[in-house]
Structures are given as structure tokens and as C-alpha cells.
């Protein structure tokens, strides 16, 4: 899964779930879009769906320091790498391999 694919997916989630269109990469999401702690929890659920695997409590807690869209993409990229290393490919990769 490429960085671009992850970014596109997160943008899709932002639009569909949070009605935020094309968020800027490096602004504070709370200040710019009133993206709050409730949204953050909802986003984690969406990320779990995207990756096709549950996040651990430690992984979820780590997300609480995230402030920008770029940080979210990096966070998801790292989660995907961890799962790939453990042999659990994210859904995006599975789709790609199956096609």
C-alpha cells in the first residue's frame, strides 16, 4: 500500500464521515475544522475497518497525540507496516494482490 493510497483513503473517510473536504496537510485539525476527541475515536474505528484489524490500546493511545492530517497518514502507514511485517496484510494490499 502506497503512501498516496493511504492518503486518498483517509481523505475519503474525512469527507464521508466528517464532512471535511480536502483537509490541509499541516494545520491543527481541531482549530481548522473543529475535529474533536469524539471525531478522533470515530476515525480510529474507520482506520480499523480500513486495515481490517483491531488496533491495540497502546496504538489507540498513541493516536491521541496526533494533531494534523499528515500525522494521521504517517500513523496509518506505520500501522500498515507493522501488520505487513506480522504477515497480516491490510485490506488495500489484499485487494491489489487479488486483482
Amino acid at each position: 500500500m502506497t503512501r498516496e493510497a493511504i492518503e486518498a483513503e483517509i481523505r475519503k473517510i474525512f469527507l464521508q464521515e466528517f464532512e471535511i473536504e480536502d483537509p490541509a496537510m499541516d494545520v491543527d485539525l481541531r482549530e481548522a475544522y473543529q475535529f474533536d476527541s469524539i471525531d478522533a475515536i470515530e476515525l480510529l474505528v474507520e482506520i480499523e475497518r480500513f486495515l481490517g484489524s483491531e488496533l491495540t490500546m497502546e496504538e489507540k493511545k498513541r493516536a491521541m497525540d496526533i494533531r494534523t492530517f499528515r500525522q494521521i497518514c504517517t500513523y496509518v502507514e506505520q500501522l500498515a507496516q507493522i501488520r505487513r511485517a506480522a504477515g497480516n496484510l491490510p485490506i488495500g494490499d489484499l485487494c491489489k494482490e487479488g486483482s
Partner: protein
Amino acid sequence: MQRRVVITAASAITPIGHGREDILRSLRDGVSGVKPLRSDDLLAPFIHSQVYGTVDYPIPYDFKRINRKTMGPVSYYACQVAKEVLEASGLDPEFITSGRLGVAFGSTHGSPTVQREIYRVFHSRDRASVSAIGAVDYLKSMVHTTAVNITKMFGITGRVIASSTACTTSSQSIGYGYESVKFGMQDAMLCGGADEYDTTTVAVFDNLLACSTGFNDEPRRTPRPFDVRRDGLVVGEGAGAVLLEEYEAARKRGATILAEVAGFACNNNGGDLILPNLAGIRETLRLSLREAGMEPGEVDLVSAHATATKMGDIIEAQAISAVYGDRPLVTALKGYMGHTMASCGVIETILTLYMMQEGFVAPTLNLEEVDERCAMIRHATSLEKTPVRAAAIQNFAFGGVNTSLVLRQAP
């Protein structure tokens, strides 16, 4: 500090209409809002009572996602009437967020629709499903969800009172809001209550043999408060809100004053949680008059709680007779829409307010033959054009909670 308190805006979503004109038309034309119970793929087919006070018209919600995300159906109702009240009030936006405006708003038990989804997940015993309980599900379903969704939507920073005492929920909201302003804790209070469509409530009352079951084929003919053929209550849905303000401040800003809240009382029967209690109810009515500094003869209209249960209506008629005699007209507005639960107090207050303004009293719908045990009071059996100088709105709840609110014509 004791200050006069007035109502400066009101709005209601009811089974007989949304807003003043719709509701007045229904009252004048004797329109019922009781319809067949909707199907819910759960309990509905097994409930004996197949009637419901239904809001079945579209409501033009226009809420941003940031607000919608913490709202269950009950909060949609609550925020809509709150929005309409604030718009109608003409309050300065700076005042709304100043901390001098508070909110007293409640519901019977938050949002049962959302709660059902949460428990469905719990009962699935599926570990993976637990994460399906969203972060916002509690905020959507909790008991004070209506009050705090209102504060969030409008940036209200004053006190929050979220009463949840079943049928006296919103009469308490108005009463405690009134006291907050009267004693100087707040300069204004946005007060009310809401309840969403919920068959669980119908099932509970059905099991207690308190629901109407004899008019399933003719929903509009039930409930029948004080009528000899009454066979129980009809559960309903709806919402209402009123804005209470300190009189002098309202006058100075040129607000339209709809009526004065003259007095309020609330007590408890101190015993049985279900049976109506004559002594407790009678005392509430007397306390509210004393609080208003009024004699019974000054009250021209009594809006009875009158749910159309066998015992409740008789005890209430006895209490009205003991306190007011047979002079004031008595109307039971549940005849039009059933028992809208947490919102019945505020809806009945608003309807009474409209009738005071218009100078008429709507009759108790479906009261065709007065039960002789309820006949000692002056029932409104046809529409009467008459000035209403003052009116009392009474409500009683499971748990033995009684309230009485006294309104007076605008000063």
C-alpha cells in the same frame, strides 16, 4: 431576591402540529394526533395497545454535522424547538453565551433508539462488535442528552438542569427554570422536554394494564380523559420549549411577553410509586397557588394531567374539586395527542398559553359522557370563547411526583 418571571418565546412539535398556527388549528377543529402504532420490528406486534400519539410530518432540520454527531432522535426534537425559541426571542447572541442564560431540559430516558443499538451489541457476545459502540453513542443516549446538545449547539454557558422524572420532566424543567430566574441565579432559562418514538414505553404501560386497548381500530377516539368509556393512556412523542426571562429585563429589551409564570410547586406522595394520591396532588395545587399569591377563584382554566386511566382521572377530579371547586374550566389536552411523556408538561403549558392569548378554551377531546365520579368539576365539553386571566397546568408522574404551574396573563 425575588423577581417576576415571564415567558417570551415558545415552540412545540406535537402530534397535532408543529408551531403555533398548526396547533391552534387542530385545537379549534378538534383534530386528533393519535394514529396506529408504528412497526418497529421488535415488540410492536405483541403490544395490546396499537395506538400512538404520532409526529408523522417532516421537520426541516438544518443542523451542522458538528452538532448532529452527538444527537439521537430525541435531541433532534429538542434542538429544533430550542432553535425556534431562540430565533423567536430576538435575544442578543452575546447574551446567549454570557452565562446568564441557562438550560433546563429533559427526556424520560435519553434516546431509547440509540440505547437499543448499544444493548444489541452487548448481547451479541461478539468481542469484535464491542468496538461498534461508537464514542458518541453515550452522548446520544444519556439522560441529559437533550440539555447538553442544546448548550453545545448555541454555546450556552449557564447552568444546566436535566430533570428526568417521566411525566413531570418538562413541568419540572419550567418550574426549576422559573425558580432559577426568580431567585436571581440566572437572568433567563430555556426550558422544556422531549421524547422520541419508542415502543418500549408503550410495552411498559401495556404490561401495567394502563394503556388504551379498546380503540385500536379507531385511534382518534382515544384517549378519553374523564369519559365513562376511557380505557387507559396513549403514549406519544413530541417536544416543547419556552424561554423564561426576568420581567424587567424582558420589558426593557422590548421582548414580546406571552405570559407570566406566577407560581410553581412540586412535591412527592411519599409512598407508592404508581398509585395517584389525592392528598399529595391536592397539596401541590394549593402550594402553587400560595407561591403565586393567588386565590383559587382567580384561576379561570385548569389544564388537567388526565391521562385517561381509570383511577388517575378520578383522583385528579377530586383534587381539582377540593382546591378550585367547580368554577374554572377544566380541559385535558391529552385527548388530542395522547401522553407525550417527558414533553407533556411543556406542550400542555404552550397550548394553554396559546389559548390564553386567543381567548378560548379547547374542549377535552373524546369526552362524550363524563364519568359521574369525575363530574364534580366544570369540564370543557365544547369550545368556549372566554378570557383566561390565569391558568394552572398540572402534571403527575410515576414515582409519586406532582407539579403545578400557574400562568397569568402578560403584565
